[in-house]
Every structure is written in C-alpha cells, then in structure tokens.
Symmetry: C2
Subunit: 106 residues, 2 copies
C-alpha cells in the first residue's frame, strides 16, 4: 500500500555543494553535522559524500532546532526518536493490514 515511490527520496546521489545550495547551510556545517552523527551520507569510491533528499530534509530540521538553541546531542536523540516512531508505525500498519486481510477472507 505504499503510495509514494520513496526510492528516489532515499537514494544517495547528491553532492555536498548541491546540498549546500538546497539547504542554505555551508559545507562546513553539513560536514560537522555528519561528524556529530546527525546525518549519514554515503561515499563514492573516491571518498566524495553523497546525500539523499531525505538527508536534505533532515538537515533543514537540524538547522531549525539549532536556531532554537538545541545542541547537536539533543537533536540526535530527537531524530532517533522520530525514526523509532516511524518504524513502529510501519510495523503497526503492517499488522493491521494483515488482520484486515484475514477478516476479508471470512
């Protein structure tokens, strides 16, 4: 039942310069957030960082939280919390779908 493609959103293909333009953040900031384990870009064979659209969305959230005076340590927890929530929601959704299908067969 997935409606959106999503494969595009999570594919790591965007280089740091483009991410910088899209987010308004400096490359320095982006690299720093990676070192703080807030984002996890992939690397090309030669070591160049590759980001996804999802990473860009996360970076914008990070920038907003930092403006609120929140530390990267705290932001990391928040992001993990969100991830956990999504994972649970997906599982729950999956289970419910199973029950619905079971009922439909009766």
């Amino acid at each position: 039942m997935p409606l959106t493609d999503g494969s595009f959103k999570h594919k790591k293909v965007i280089s740091i310069g483009t991410v910088s333009e899209l987010t308004g953040l400096t490359e320095r900031q982006i690299r720093y957030y990676e070192s703080r384990k807030l984002i996890f870009p992939e690397r090309s064979k030669t070591g160049l960082r590759k980001f996804s659209f999802q990473d860009i969305e996360t970076l914008i959230e990070i920038a907003n939280r930092l403006e609120d005076g929140v530390w990267t340590n705290e932001i990391r927890k928040e992001l993990k919390g969100r991830e956990q929530f999504i994972a649970e929601a997906k599982l729950s959704n999956h289970l419910i779908n199973g029950k619905i299908n079971a009922q439909l067969k009766l």
Copy 2:
C-alpha cells in the same frame, strides 16, 4: 489527487558521474544524447550539468532503443510522443474529475 511526491523525481541535482554509474552509460554518451536533444539537464552557475531521476529513467529508455537499432532522431520523436500522451492524460483526468465533482453536487 497526486499520490506520488514527484518533486524529487524531477529535481535536477545529480552530477554526470553519478548518472553514468546509475545508467551504465559513459559520460560521453550522456553528453551526446543531450546534444541530440533527448535529455535536458540543467546547469550549475559554473556550467556543471545537473540531472534528475526522471532524466536517468529516460536515459535507460534511450539506451534500450539504441540497442534496438533506432536512431536518436527517431527516439526524440518517441519521447515527444510520450510526453504529449502524458500531458493529454493529465488534462483528461482533470476534466473528468471536474465532471465527477459536478455530479456529486447534484
């Protein structure tokens, strides 16, 4: 009624090296197809090509057609035909939705 995001699919953010990896085509081939007006990457301020996921899908189609022995001239027409079809389908879809909504109000 758009279900898929789509904004990601059409955003021009991928550099030619990554496109080459994703499609299996050489940079030479990709640049040539652009010169033949089969794809239309954007350019960064300094002139670097930027492609979208849609461009990548088109490139794969192009490669398939070329393998079939079709010339770029012909492929260009095919692609235009497809575009035209999609545009018409969207319009038609829009009109039908309008009629349905009109009926629902009766």
